[in-house]
Structures are given as structure tokens and as C-alpha cells.
Symmetry: C2
Subunit: 454 residues, 2 copies
């Protein structure tokens, strides 16, 4: 019983200091979601495995946490399968439920189940944990939060522009300098057509994606290996080495992809999205990047990825447009566009750059010392007044030694200590100590409220 | 693939309207927790089963959701046990982790693991879902939120008074009229002593607890059945039929329990807590109720229970003082006092009394109509200005029929629609329609901001 307890690997406890920082991030995102008219939903942590299985590929299925059926779960289970040690099939026989792996599949399930109550276009956001039985490593956890916003039931590119503006606003509020990178799946299809290999869109994109890391020559080698002809590679080289302003890149792309209907449509969409988003007054840099190849088996139009300028870290937000969110649940043709904020990476970026505002500590603004019942009662009356004014306050519950009491305020980062001792009690005053400066003043209740409000 | 999807029984989806109401409750509670100097922590959804098992009694163990080990979980598992269909032992062999059943055991585990980083007294709050494999029924779910606040590492009754004041403030803000009932385990022990049956404290309490439902005579019958002598029952009858004001009840209790040291201590504690709490200016009624028997196998001092005055429903908040939170994890002697808000019941009370403020709908404050690209771009510029002023805004993404666009605002409960058509575009004006009154005004951008701010 009394062994030292631990938590499952890949999971985390969050201390008050960590929670204050995480709440700051989540409430910033939540507030901006609300400003843009997105509405929150929540779905259960457990979904039926029939909802989850087959939606994330074979690898994904293996990473699902499965929940054991309650009660006598072995009853009626095939004895031979058990005896054979067939874990895969046994799991299906003894588990009906699993923990949600992402927020997209539950959202699709939600839309299908509630389609008659929903107003289309439906703009939802969702901030909840997800679980993956991944090998834990630095920055990768088995339980982590996702923060998703999606608009479904509208093909309009206004949605893309709004989401880009929303990302810009979140990053501006958090103080993170970012580049918002844009691409379009149709442009990638056009490049594959240009190479005469429309079926090789993924091969080509995977190779192009490496250009920053390995350089043009190696990318060309890889394209050869992946079966492109030298002529095809020559044809697409100007596309993958695009430079200049976004307008110059768009113009060049338009010329190069002029024989591909799909490619031209992609360029047009990019043009419209970038134009609208710019009119919304972005503070971040918007950059057309044809090497962007996020979620190719899912996204059908716009692709969005956000990189922090001042920290070496992967994408901190991403998203794109998809054609068919709910087909897998028997409701075809529902298109949409969505983004997902990487809360854990944003947390790392803010830590690395020390961008947290000082006032988010989560500790009370003032701690009252405790010299005994009479003083404590008077302190609690004053605290009542402070709290009515929105000022957080606590009292040291025991009449402990002064040093211990002050030590608490210091350790918790409580900025003020209020002292009501015998003298203050008699005079109806409060002595207020500023913990940062050490300054100490004996003041009235009214003055206390005013000082602490600032 | 295309079968109609569903969710596991006993779990819930929350729609935007439901989330708006839930967020209102949670943020009210969270804000008051903060005002009283409680700091938030979070613990993982999954705990090791070694942490959870044996902490909730035999029944509780059965209600734990167990998570199947990843990978080849049958490897090395005793084949005979499997063949025998021994679900109980097999579960332990194939599951290391379980979903948290409450917030108390994870909190105790947290305190033990982080004891060197924590500042005592430690005042924490925690708002997270818990899971129980209970038979679902009306008002009972398999996944639900708990909202707990605890102070550990202090024996001072100041903590009780603060928590009562905190409950009062939460209920006052939510507009729920409540009675806060108080008892003390030591008083119950004193009553058992008075009856000459200190080992029968639970039997006596269970019987007393029914007095409101079944009346004094039936309670006496039950006490007889539970083995009390007629003389003992006569002795404790005045205690269980206490009436009058709290002060009168306290005085009567003090006299009746004068031979019990424990009983007298309980009366003294009740006196002190009620005195301090009253001095804090409660708006709720505080009521001494010796029939209150919550958590008897856990609480050692103060017992708190909160009942709504205007709705027939069980306790909506409860708590008490305990002696030994962490002994089970090898860290003895840590006492504390805590409360837990029943968020789902509070939700039901607010629904029953229709106490939600109008402004919490969660929908945008204004929707812009869409007449095409030029008008939409201008609308988005105006929206940018509104959002900077903290006013939530959205635009209908497609240039759909006017009726459809207005229908959306109506269905979502968006209070204003802003219209920028050809004329408004030319004149630099906006037509604003108040959806409640039907009133329509053509105004400038500045006037729009002012109107929507109100």
C-alpha cells in the first residue's frame, strides 16, 4: 500500500504555476475563437471503438487506448483465441470503447448525430485532451490537449481568410512572431500533372518538402529515384525553386501551371485567400510555400502551417480544407476548413522566449497574516470587501510564526501581505507590505482597496 | 462503415448552447476559487491501477474503467486463468491503468509525489472529468465533472469558515438560494457515547438521517432493530429532535453531551465555525443539522452539505474535514478540509429555475451579411475593428439568399445583423438590424462600435 506512487509514463501532473501558464494560453485561444463567432462543443472522452477504428490508418489503430468492458468481460469470448494468445482479436472481443485519438473524428461523429439540430455553416471549436499510446519522448505525450476550430458546410474562401486572421490574432496576443505558410493541394496536383505523373503527387511533394534541409540537387536525385524522368524534373524545377514576393511567386506559378486546370484553380484560390487575408490587416508574415505538404491524404484545397520566427520548433498551428468530413459515417459531401493550435508547442515557445505576462501567476493578490482569532476575524471582514472588489485574497489559516507566514507569501509569489495585529485592530487600520519593494504602509480599509486594485 | 454512429451509454455530447451554460457555471466557480486564493492543478485522466484500487471499497473497484495494456497484452498472461474465464484476475494481468474515479485520490497521490515542491498549507482546486462504470440513469453519468477545492496541512477552523463563505459566494453569484447545513463527526460520536454504544455511531447516524422522511417513531423502531436499548433511545431523543435557532441547538447539544469529551469538542468546533462564517456576511442560511451524515467513513470533523431551497434535488455541494489524506501512500498525518461542487446538479437547478443570464449564449454579438466579394471584404474590415473593441462578430461566408442568412442569425440567437450592400458600400455606412425589436438603422462605423458595445 505504502509504496511511492507514480503516474503512467507519457502523462503529466500540472502544478499551479504550470496551470496558470496553460490557462493563459487556453483562455487566449478561447477568447479569440469567441470573437470570431466560433462556438464550443465537447464530446465524451470515450468513443465506441467502431467510431474510432479504421480512421487513422493501421498505425493509428494500434495507438488507440482501449477501455476494458465492465463486469465479466471474458464471458462468451472464444477460448481458442485466448489460448492462442491472439491479442489483436481478443482486444476487439473484450473492449467496446476507446479513448479519443483526436478531435476530428469525434467532431465528424457529432455532426452526423446532431445534423438536424445544427445551423449550417457550423462553426465549432473544441478544446479537450486526446490520448495516444505512442512511445513517450521529449515533447510527445500520451495525453495532451488539442484546440481545434472548424467551419463545415461552406465552400467559401472567406472561411480560410477568417481562420488566417484568427491565427494572426492569437499569435499577436500571445506575443509570438510567426510566419503563416500557405499552399494548396490543387497546386501540388498541378505540379504532378506538369511532371506528367499525376499519380506521383505524394512522391513529388515528399521530395519537394525536403528542399530546405537537403538542397535542390538532392531533391532532384530523390525525384529520379522515385521514378520521375529527367525531363519531368527539369519541368518542375522552376516551380520548386520559386522565389520573390508572394505576388511574384503566384504569377510564376500561374504561368508554369497554365496547362493544368486543377493547378490554375489552386493558384486562383491561393490568390483570393491571400488577398482577403491581407486586407484584414495581418501583423504576421503570410508566405506562399509550395513545399508545404501537410495532411496530403486529407486536405483537398488550402493548406496552412504556422512557424514561430524566434524558436527552432516544428509547426505550432496547422490546418486546411477538406472535402468530405462525414462520408465515413454515411453523410457524404460535407466540406469544411479547420485549424488546430498545438498548445504544448505554444507552451514551449512562450517558455523559451519568456513571454508570459507577470500577472498570470494564479496566486492571490494579497495574503493576510494571522495573529489569533480576533485579528483573523477582522482580517476576514476586510477580505470580504476586497473580494467584492474582485481582488483575490487569502489568510494564513494558523497563528503561526511570522517568518513562516511571510515565507508562504514569498514562495507563492503573492505580491502583497496585509497585517492586522493588535495595534491595527485597535486603530482600524491595515499595514500593507509590498513584497517586491519591501515598502510597508499603515493605511485605511478604503486605501487598501484602492492600492490593491491598481 | 456507414452505420449510424452513437456514443457509449452514460456519456454525453454537449452542444454550443449547453456548453455556454456549463462554461458559465465552471467559470463562476473558478473565479471564486481564485478570489479565495485557491490554485488550480490538473492530474492525468489515467492513473496506475495500483494508485486507484482498494481506495473506494470493493464496489468502487468494480466501477473503475480499466485501460487495456498496449501491444501484445496477452503475452505472458497465464493461459489457465484465461481458459477458466477468470475476468477479475485477468483484468489485473492485462490492465495497468485506469480512468480516474474521483479527484481526491489523484490529489492525495499528487501531494505525496510533489511534497517537496508544495507550500503548506496547500490550497488547490481541480475541475476535471471523472469516470465510473455505474449503471447509467437519469442524472447519473459514466463521465462527469467534479469541482473540488481543498486546504491541506492546516487544522485551523478558519479554513472551514473560508470554504463556507466561498460556497455562499458561488451560490450568490449563480442566484441559487441555498441552506448550508453543518454537522461535526465528533458530535455524532458524542451521541453514540450518550447512547452507551460508541461502536454504533454509523447505525445511529443512518437512523437519525431518516427522521425527515419517516418521522421520530419509525426512527426509534429502527434504532431498536439496530440494537439500541429503549433507555439509550430515550437518552438521545432530545438530541435528534433538536429545534430552534442554531444558538439554541448548540446550547442544548452542549448540555446533553456534557459527559462526552469528544462530543463537547464537536460542539465547540461547530460553534467556532458558525461564528466565524456568520461574521463573513453570509447571504445563505447556515443550519446546524445533527442528522447530516455525509462521508462518515472519511470525515473526522466538520461536515458540510448544501441544499437548494427552490428545487427538489439532492445535495448540490458537500464536503468536510479529514484527518489523513495521504497515509495510504505512505505519508501519514496530513489533515485537511475540502468541498466539492456538484456541477451537473447545479446545471439542473439553474435549468429548472431558468437562472441563466441572457448574455451567455456563446453566439457572436453581430453577424454580417454577405452580398459578394467587395461587400464581404469591406465587412471584414469593419469586423476587424469590432473585434479589437472586444465585440464578437462573424460573417455569413457565402453570398447566399438573404432569407437564409437572416435565418442563421435568428437560429443562433445572434442579437444584431450588420448589412453592407451596394448602397452602404458606396456611402461608407452600415445598416444595423436589432433582431429582437426588428429596428433597423443606417449608421457610421463609429456609431456601430458604440451601439454594439452597449
Amino acid at each position: 500500500m505504502a509504496q511511492k506512487p507514480s503516474i503512467p509514463k507519457g502523462t503529466r501532473d500540472f502544478s499551479p504555476a504550470e496551470m496558470a501558464r496553460r490557462n493563459y494560453i487556453f483562455s487566449t485561444i478561447r477568447e479569440v475563437f469567441g470573437l470570431y463567432g466560433f462556438q464550443q462543443i465537447e464530446t465524451p472522452s470515450m468513443e465506441n471503438l467502431s467510431t474510432l477504428m479504421g480512421k487513422y490508418g493501421e498505425e493509428g489503430d494500434k495507438l488507440l487506448f482501449k477501455v476494458l468492458n465492465s463486469g465479466d468481460f471474458l464471458k462468451g469470448v472464444d477460448k481458442e483465441m485466448l489460448a492462442a494468445g491472439d491479442s489483436l482479436h481478443t482486444a476487439s472481443a473484450i473492449c467496446e470503447k476507446g479513448l479519443r485519438y483526436d478531435l476530428t473524428v469525434p467532431f465528424a461523429r457529432f455532426v452526423v448525430m446532431h445534423r438536424n439540430e445544427l445551423q449550417m455553416p457550423f462553426k465549432r471549436y473544441q478544446i479537450q485532451p486526446v490520448w495516444r499510446a505512442d512511445r513517450p519522448q521529449k515533447g510527445r505525450y500520451r495525453e495532451f490537449y488539442q484546440c481545434d476550430a472548424d467551419v463545415v458546410g461552406s465552400d467559401s474562401l472567406v472561411n480560410e481568410a477568417e481562420l488566417i486572421s484568427l491565427i494572426n490574432e492569437v499569435m499577436r496576443r500571445l506575443g509570438i512572431r510567426v510566419v503563416i505558410k500557405l499552399n494548396n493541394r490543387k497546386v501540388l496536383a498541378g505540379i504532378a500533372e506538369l511532371a506528367g505523373a499525376p499519380d506521383k503527387i505524394v512522391d513529388i511533394t515528399v521530395a519537394i518538402d525536403k528542399i530546405d534541409k537537403i538542397g535542390l540537387d538532392k531533391v532532384k536525385e530523390e525525384l529520379l529515384e522515385r521514378g520521375l524522368t529527367p525531363e519531368a524534373i527539369d519541368k518542375i524545377t522552376p516551380v520548386i525553386t520559386l522565389s520573390g514576393s508572394n505576388d511574384e511567386r503566384l504569377a510564376a506559378l500561374e504561368a508554369l501551371l497554365s496547362d493544368s486546370e486543377t493547378g490554375k484553380k489552386g493558384v486562383e484560390e491561393l490568390h483570393e485567400v491571400m488577398d482577403m487575408a491581407s486586407r484584414l490587416g495581418l501583423t504576421a508574415t503570410l508566405e506562399l510555400d509550395v513545399s508545404l505538404a501537410r495532411g496530403l491524404n486529407y486536405y483537398t484545397g488550402t493548406i496552412i502551417e504556422v512557424k514561430a520566427c524566434d524558436v527552432e520548433i516544428g509547426s505550432i498551428t496547422g490546418g486546411g480544407r477538406y472535402d468530405n468530413l462525414t462520408g465515413v459515417f454515411g453523410m457524404p459531401g460535407l466540406s469544411g476548413v479547420g485549424i488546430s493550435f498545438g498548445a504544448d508547442r505554444i507552451y514551449d515557445v512562450l517558455n523559451a522566449l519568456d513571454l508570459y505576462p507577470a500577472e498570470i501567476s494564479g496566486a492571490a493578490r494579497v495574503m493576510f497574516t494571522n495573529f489569533g482569532t480576533a485579528e483573523a476575524l477582522r482580517s476576514m471582514e476586510v477580505m470580504r470587501r476586497l473580494r467584492s472588489a474582485g481582488i483575490s485574497a487569502e489568510i494564513f489559516p494558523d497563528a503561526a510564526k511570522m517568518k513562516k507566514q511571510m515565507g508562504r507569501a514569498d514562495a507563492l509569489g503573492i505580491p502583497y501581505v496585509a497585517i492586522i495585529g493588535e495595534t491595527e485592530l485597535a486603530e482600524g487600520k491595515i499595514t500593507l507590505k509590498n513584497m517586491a519593494t519591501g515598502e510597508q504602509l499603515t493605511i485605511s480599509e478604503d486605501e487598501l482597496v484602492e492600492t490593491l486594485k491598481q
